[in-house]
Symmetry: D3
């Protein structure tokens, strides 16, 4: 790593898969540790390391950790992805020669931390949404390199699907979405856009039409419903904050106007600043589905810590930590 | 993108550079937009789009945006990286046929949003730290794919360097670090570890030794200072929360005991839960440098929005936004 | 008063002018006091009474007090209407035989209290609105019997005019208003309503058109401006809370769209939940005038207290009050 | 209305009954609406309008609304006075040609709003007072024109009676009161005043004597009890704030001293700043009845809104409201 | 008392027992009262006085009050020490000639007030500590003259014992303690101090060793346990705030390290800023006993009031109080 | 100390002066330390100890510390009594053989801590009272043994005098006071009590008469002023909380009524729950002097800590403290 060089013409600052495997994203001190331990002939000291989480939440990221280590000469135990974990619970344990995995401490912690933070936020949304589906719509709030990590974690946590193509495909799902305001603006009219959308989409793809671009949402909703008829699955309300956002009153009114006009089969999909407080209010008003962006994408990571707990078979730990293995029957053998 | 498949044997969930370029991290609706506009023969409609930030901060991520678009048939203006931007300020503008860049809306927003969030937090640390250097130590709190993006952004914002190897190299800097607790635990003694470190590092690499692993920090500090003498640049205090963390009282005492023993040249490097409240208190007590982790790594993104403001040369915008170009003389022509 | 009877067929519960003069709105104990004092031969004892206010504000209601007492054998001093008064300041003084005015204690206190509360709230609006006019629009929040009292007091406090016909006429002003949503709904279209309004109003009456009834406000604004052209003085934004109310973003956008279409002479008149926090934000966004309803109409009265301070020329007061006249050079002789 | 003129020599600013009926208290725009609709030949368009309340409370003012409209060619439904209504509940509905009632929108809203606010506050007092009677004593805090409206509404809400003569008579009740401090001051002694009161009142009128004018309340209570003996129903404590107000300790002490002197039949009537927090504390200390002033008189109106919901038999409403009739089985047919 | 003089060479400002008995600590006005009443021949007027407490708590100090008055010609009733008393409850009653006890009003109030405050705080600690013992360690926070009063009151309230020698002996208990940091510092090593302590203490005196003076607490704990073996009852953690104080994490780690090394019989005694919030957290972490200092020693007194309630057999009291005896069956006859 | 026994017939729990000197109030561990060090032959090790305060305030108690140690073979430096000290400032330093003073650590800390807490509170009162005198009236809130310590400390801090006889005499002052409610109750009338007081006091003793016992304070004030005339220095208002306490309104009214009756030379002395918020309000209303009780008496001690900083001439300290002497030029040599 000492001689690692950044190539000319590199487009992105994010690390490629190869760079992560080679250790280019490690903290420099793990490289130094390897040199120091090799000099002392201790690089292969058998150790047991435990990973614990700083707060309660939903665990995610274990699959990547397993993939990274699966060819190493170690044993690995972990709590499966998607399970609830308690504050300070040990969520993963690795046993083996230090040099087999020591350099990946930074990477492993990062994978678990950020994925678990996102999964936890998605679970919270699902819990307040009950049987109404939640979709992860937050790719625009994170770097594209981790957008699929984030959206996959959201689905692990409880989202029904997500808008990021790669995020959905990682779990074998189809991505979900409508059309952006940009398309409506370029076409110049919501109804015309809806008709074009209807014509160009595969027959089995759901018709969900954005109705807040040009005109009053209630007015536009009825125009779109008239144009698409029974092929219309839902209208999407994404009213910007400058216009008061999507209020429960707007949802209730759109619902009532749709029903009065005979379109009670048309659903209402809402997005824009959706969070735990607003979901129940919007359900109460008649919302059928939620696109959640920054609430999930901006969730804080659940910071993780790796502690060495045994060296050469003997309990040992740094000051502040309890030496020896922590009993946790929820840890499953992965490797 | 419709037929995009995830390959067998993939290790990481993060997107490769090629996947981002191909659009695999885009929200699915941008793919649909392309199809819809092509069907209508409008995919090359000339548009002007503006990007504005949701809150004030330090702008970062422009370099990646430029790299992504530099071979496209568009014009690009932006505020340079590292500059302060105001709430709702227009930070980037793109002019050109929609199809040249429309599919990258998600990626561009994400690059700017997360990098700017990190740069802003680092700037805040630097501002309260005055002339004491701040180092980004938070790679372990984010996915390894974006660890270099985060640490580079922190340096753009004001950190002196960072611990992530690739993060530092992206800016032509050397990464900074000490040794982790793991190394001290495996070697079995702090002083012995310090001597090994001293022996295995290049002569010009600074000697900063972690002193809280086994014994009382003040006691260990004096042992390490005696062992390394004038070659010791600094001791690093990283006391865990279970032991009260790094308090101003601890820093003041270590400083005093070093001075009384004649080691007034040895600096004190602190880390562990460092934030804006604690930096001034620790400087007051005698700290010389700061390793900042989750305060920077866990900073919220500065969410960005892209608005189409002109179509075919005419001002136009969705409801809630003001049609036409926003005057901002700080936008520099990049492309 | 003992035998006072409510007449058959009475429409309103409010007191007629004659009932107030006869004492029918007095607290019963003032009637009893008169009987008791007459029995003791003390009903004409010379007294001096002072009125003080419970908190600082703008004094109003003095004109009614003067009208009520102007034919009585008393002297009356007061601070003029519209002046600021301090907490606990003596605002009115009456000297004369008790029976000449004692029975009106309830009425006098009520006139001063409620009018001063309303004037104070209107003054606060004007103070934050600077040179932008404020109109009292709150008649619907109070009983019609006092609607003119309230709106007159608002003008005394600083409103430019008001919507209540009688309220404005009491001060020799013309009432101000637009058309209600009811008219637009019955006519069926905003532009058609605007044209009817333009045709039926006197030429010198300002054309201010409500634009939020049927369609998006920005869309409707441009339609109305096109229809009335230079005869249009202002559009009125009164968006209901269910649609997010009148936000600064909406005002700014309507302003920008008007300007882009060449209607920079058209003003923006806002109403609906206007208060001291919102006025400066809306001015910043481009609002030109304010219709204020419940903030003024719902203002708490400035409760007043009448204390007897001299009897038969000697200082005297109840426990808790200081006997004798309070010096206040701001009291002007009215009677 | 255009030519409405204020007469010379008018005493009060409040509207006379005739002025309200003529529309002089209407907002000016209702006059304009009539002109505009007449011009378009739409003044007699059949409409249905609904009135809803902005917050939960006790409904009052319906009788006045009915009186105002009872000779019009309309149908009217409402929830009866004194019933609890929920936030946003439809409390009144009018069906008929718009011109029959449109001009009264301001007046109708005002009647319901202010009376309901007062009734709600009185209900809250009664609810915390349990079986101890509450009397409305707040006429001095409102304009005399609405003093009877307020005090009647308080009785509708739950007060046992009130001090305003006309307010009580509107409901066929006798007004309640004692003597004011003014009478005691002019007579010069509390006991002497009590004896005069006893002599001049009808035998069946209750003897309640104010005891805080000149001397310590406990001392004066015993003097008055000795003077009136079994004819004394209650003493009234109205201690001013400058002397600490009426505290629970004072009530308990007066109760104890009365009992020790054998006057356990004498009740304690308290007044002065009585509110929901103080009533239970004072009951606990021994208070028997409450005179409530500004808590009721200063209660905010329950703002009402009138929405047109049907035009020519078809559901219709402005943006933000749901077209068509709202189902509410609590609406009773009045007309 | 008029001629009372302070003697030359006096060491302390605190009152000697004789000075208290003579009245030198009384408020001067009680001396004046005696002179005044003697002049009027009323010094032996029979009175009944009651003492009530300003807030709820645990009563203490009664024994001293009894001792002070036991030779006087009075009757005395009180609630026994250690019982809970309610806010404003009468806790003591004295009947007799005023001069027998009037001059002691100040002293009696002070004894009850401060002792009850301390007992109440100790009771609160015991209540949250459950079956873990609490020891009063706060002598250093009060004047030495009252240190035994305070520590005795703490034991009355619920502490198992205390560190103040005289405080413990007053209740026939043995004082509890370890050795101070001073001893360890002078000896120069914790283990050496522990061995000296073990050698010099009587065999039945418990061995509790302070382990935070020189080295890391966990390290020192194991050294001390190795040195004293089964003779070691407990280690005491008293980590200063500059080092983060005694955290639950430290307690848990020391417990775990002791258990892993086979010393599960060694208890953990904690001290330093212990309060009601921290006791349960530290018990959860494994603490076995608590030394509580400033939480008990700094507790506010429960201010007491003495009221004369009968004079010459007749109920009488000052304004604000209820004349005559207060019924309280919890008052026991002491004298 | 081991064999220390509590004597039969002891009246008080407070320590006598001899007991303090003998060490009976020490924490037991100082006795053990002496035994342990003697066994090790280290009892006379030369040490330097420093005392620092936990928070800023006014230092008091130094005189007692000096008195206790003045015959010992040590050197003593301290900041003089009455001076402001900063948080954590070293306020006293002792140098000498440990055994000369080690056992007094508890006593010395307690003397400084409690006296400084009281002096600090008194200083705060004086600071807000400006040139109006403050008197310490809180003896009844503390144990009589420390009442003189407390009241002396209050005078050191800024009180003009105090009511505790011994407290005042310790500083060569005359105690200050009036007569208690008890005297007025036994005599049966305030004016009669005032006359007896006037007759029995020495001519130069100020006449301050309590006026709230039986009647309204304003009424009683005028009766007392009429009775004593120019011999009356002040009336004292001490109205109990049950009657609303001493309000600014009461003070202003008494002042006005005194002035109107020609008694402008009579001052107003207030007491009862006086604190930092109330003093300025009461001065504004006309109060001339303050009797402060629980605000001073209930002030928290300023906890002190003693640290050994040198042993045998070498800097040394426990973990968490800085070895060696702390520079402080404000320390004066006392011994």
């Amino acid at each position: 790593m000492r001689e690692f060089q950044v190539k000319e013409g590199r487009i992105f600052h994010s690390a490629s898969h190869e760079e992560i495997v080679k250790g280019a994203t490690a903290d420099i001190y793990f490289v130094r540790t390897r040199e120091l331990l090799s000099y002392a002939g201790k690089e292969n000291t058998p150790v047991v390391a435990e990973f614990f989480c700083s707060r309660a939440g939903v665990l995610a990221g274990v699959e990547e950790a397993f993939n990274l280590l699966k060819d190493k000469d170690i044993s690995l135990w972990a709590i499966p992805e998607g399970e609830d974990v308690a504050e300070k619970e040990v969520v993963m344990r690795i046993s083996g020669p230090y040099d087999e995995f020591g350099m990946y401490e930074t990477a492993l912690l990062g994978m678990l931390a950020s994925a678990s933070g996102w999964a936890t936020a998605a679970r919270a949304c699902r819990d307040v949404a009950g049987d109404k589906p939640v979709f992860a719509f937050g790719a625009r709030h994170v770097h594209p390199a981790v957008a699929p990590v984030m959206e996959r974690a959201a689905v692990v946590g409880g989202a029904q699907s997500c808008s990021c193509i790669l995020g959905a495909k990682l779990l074998g799902k189809e991505p979900t979405g409508t059309v952006p305001h940009a398309a409506v603006l370029i076409v110049g009219d919501t109804v015309e856009t809806a008709l074009l959308y209807d014509r160009t989409m595969p027959p089995d793809s759901p018709r969900i039409i954005l109705v807040d671009t040009f005109k009053d949402e209630a007015e536009e909703t009825l125009r779109v419903a008239a144009a698409l008829g029974e092929r219309l699955l839902a209208v999407r309300l994404d009213t910007p904050g400058e216009r008061g956002g999507v209020t429960p009153g707007l949802v209730a009114e759109v619902r009532a106007r749709l029903d009065q006009a005979g379109y009670n089969f048309v659903q209402i999909f809402v997005s824009g600043g959706i969070n735990l407080e607003r979901i129940p209010q919007l359900i109460e008003a008649g919302a059928d589905a939620f696109g959640v962006g920054s609430y999930i994408a901006g969730a804080r990571a659940i910071d993780m810590t790796m502690d060495i707990k045994e060296i050469d078979g003997a309990p040992l730990a740094k000051r502040g930590r309890i030496p020896g293995l922590t009993q946790n029957t929820r840890l499953i053998s992965y490797l």
